[in-house]
Symmetry: C2
Subunit: 409 residues, 2 copies
């Protein structure tokens, strides 16, 4: 008799964004005249850069001619032209040396962060920030690394590290050993960034406890402060303890195109029950090549174009535009008397809700009274209660309109 | 201390195709003048259909304009325009009724067949044919559903069902209960197909034992015999016991573009340890939306174009061309005194190697003596020993040349 994986039955409710989508759909059905402005789901609004469009047209044409047609990406890990662009631009130019075969091109950081845990033992103890991007937790629940959920939605067995105004939304390492740590900087959802010193503490902790850090740097392109590290490998010794995730989604508007990559350094080891060290890279490669079949050639050509001189300039312009939004949102909300965090080196603004107003309650109020969609902080964890997340990804005219409406609230 | 998932350490050697690739690379380095013809890896050679190219250009342009730009595919399971085309054409036209929300669009049948096992308990007993597409087995090894590998490369705990010339390469259900059965028809690697009666036996078996069938129909477009079912759902009662996988890779040359889908019927149930039935569809959806972030919009538009009148005609022409190759290969090899199977309703030809010549030995002989690449049957399992797989996906001139060279062997 076919048995279900009962770990899936431990999962709480729907995934956050579908629930938001559902409430918005219900509202729109009941108020067909209302013009709803979304500042909630972290999706971009600006089109792909002209350099990317041009490159993808070229790649589509190649796929239409027998002489230039490409089938499977035989490497399994991404065309060398793309991995070389990644290594040179994302790392080399910041003084970090990454080898071509440490780069694994994929279709998203959501899949990468969700799948990476699979190559590690189910007995490992997981630590995440609270609030946290739900994928880190849910995929560990599915894998059986947790017990049941509490009423607050936290799972037994996971070490939650509150990210609060007091610690600048950058948790310090816990005072007990854990094995798998998920860090995301610039942070989703709080918009916080980690300094070199803060990351160095984490690297030291991981080295001491032989832990592995899953470093989600999907938003690194939004860092403007030159003192803030873009990669965890800017910290000495990090290659021995950290995997890093990067994405074209927010860097270059690829949310609907799907391209990302993970870095698994050669120095990274994991251990058998009898204490033998094994290389993580080949195991990840085995998983990647067995359960994944590469990214569309057209997508990879488009992604490589981000690193061309024109592409770089165009992508930068779009990011700068989003960061103008972020500055306006922070300024506007501060003027209205709200306390806001983030929005400086990150596309997310973490807005403290008025005293006594819960984050789903504030979500419903914004939706119903001014037709603005935000993301309830409680959806990211109990420490997110009392906050909502706003994103800078809207169109400038919508940002302005949303701020005007908020002023009327 | 970070523990590795020791199940990964049970995996034997490399994945079959990288090993072939390695041997071919070594040969080419040592014989830079040789013109190697690949009849091995199952990759297509004909370009995408003009209708697909045209549609993808249009989609690329849409992505370059703010008004028509698309970010995340909010449904998480594929745009409705594509799911509707799938439901109407792949099923409706064969008298099978599939609901839109039973379709889950993905980036490949390799990922789908690899990931689907994850939502079922680790205690389930798995049955596969021998020879078998390695992904079915390897992903169950990774998940911990097996013990160690034998010297022959078979894993303890898996029920292997020999597919031999005697049973027409279509195994019957085992005489003991199993929980998860992988079937692939038209078959990779043997090129066999299952009749309605043969599939009906499997559906009856699964219903009797509450097993689930993972039906890989990635090659259904190659069926020309009207009596052969394209979908397992053409068998009464199959929706209660079967998931089906389909792919654009071989149907429309999407190996380098990446689009596929799985069907999870609403009637399909799995059971908790205490015997409670739960719906499989919502659990698969939860996994799909948590660990995957949708297929490129451009790719989905391209895939939908396969179902346009022009697209259908063009795709059919390409498949017909491949099947002309298949017929030539079968005829040529038979003339040379070889015994061949498959190649009629499938793009694979299963060639019996000369007596006393092992399949890797025959592989090396073909590579070294006539510079033709095949796939050793033993790479698919012990019952594949004594066979090699040839594919019909080559260019016609290469097929002719390869046959001429084989004649000289």
């Amino acid at each position: 008799m076919i048995r279900v994986n009962e770990n899936f039955l431990k999962l709480r409710a729907g995934y956050l964004f579908p629930e938001i989508g559902r409430r918005v759909r219900v509202f729109k059905q009941e108020h067909p005249q209302a013009r709803v402005i979304s500042m909630g789901i972290g999706d971009v609004t600006q089109p792909l850069a002209p350099a990317v469009i041009e490159a993808m047209h070229r790649a589509v044409d190649e796929m239409g001619r027998r002489e230039t047609f490409r089938g499977y990406d035989d490497t399994g890990v991404g065309y060398e032209f793309l991995r070389k662009a990644i290594v040179d631009n994302d790392f080399g130019q910041r003084g970090v040396s990454i080898d071509l075969d440490e780069v694994f091109v994929s279709d998203g950081t959501k899949p990468d962060t969700g799948n990476m845990q699979e190559i590690f033992g189910v007995e490992n103890v997981v630590a995440v920030a609270d609030p946290v991007y739900p994928v880190y937790v849910d995929t560990n629940v599915m894998a059986g690394r947790t017990g049941e959920a509490s009423d607050e939605g936290q799972y037994a067995g996971i070490v939650y590290m509150p990210a609060t105004a007091e610690n600048g939304f950058v948790p310090s390492p816990p005072d007990k050993p854990v094995d798998m740590v998920y860090l995301c900087f610039p942070n989703n959802p709080t918009g916080s960034v980690a300094t070199k010193d803060e990351l160095a503490k984490w690297v030291a902790y991981a080295r001491e406890h032989k832990a592995v850090i899953f470093f989600d740097a999907a938003y690194e392109a939004y860092i403007s402060d030159p003192a803030i590290p873009h990669s965890i490998y800017e910290i000495e010794g990090a290659k021995e303890v950290a995997v890093e995730f990067r994405s074209c989604s927010k860097t270059a508007g690829f949310t609907g195109v799907r391209c990302a990559y993970s870095i698994v350094p050669k120095q990274l080891k994991a251990y058998t029950r009898d204490g033998r060290a094994v290389d993580v890279g080949p195991i990840w490669k085995r998983r990647h090549c067995t359960k994944f079949n590469g990214v569309s050639y057209i997508t990879q050509v488009g992604a490589a174009a981000i690193y061309s001189p024109q592409g770089k300039k165009q992508v930068r312009q779009t990011i700068d535009g989003y960061m103008v939004n972020a500055a306006r949102i922070c300024e506007g909300l501060t003027k209205l008397g709200y306390k806001v965090y983030g929005g400086v080196n990150a596309p997310y603004i973490w807005l403290q809700t008025p005293k006594g107003v819960g984050s789903w309650q504030f979500f419903d109020r914004l939706l119903n009274e001014v037709h603005v969609v935000c993301t309830p902080g409680a959806g990211f964890g109990p420490a997110g209660e009392g906050y909502v997340r706003l994103t800078a990804f809207g169109l400038p005219e919508n940002v302005k309109e949303a701020l005007d409406r908020l002023a009327r609230l």
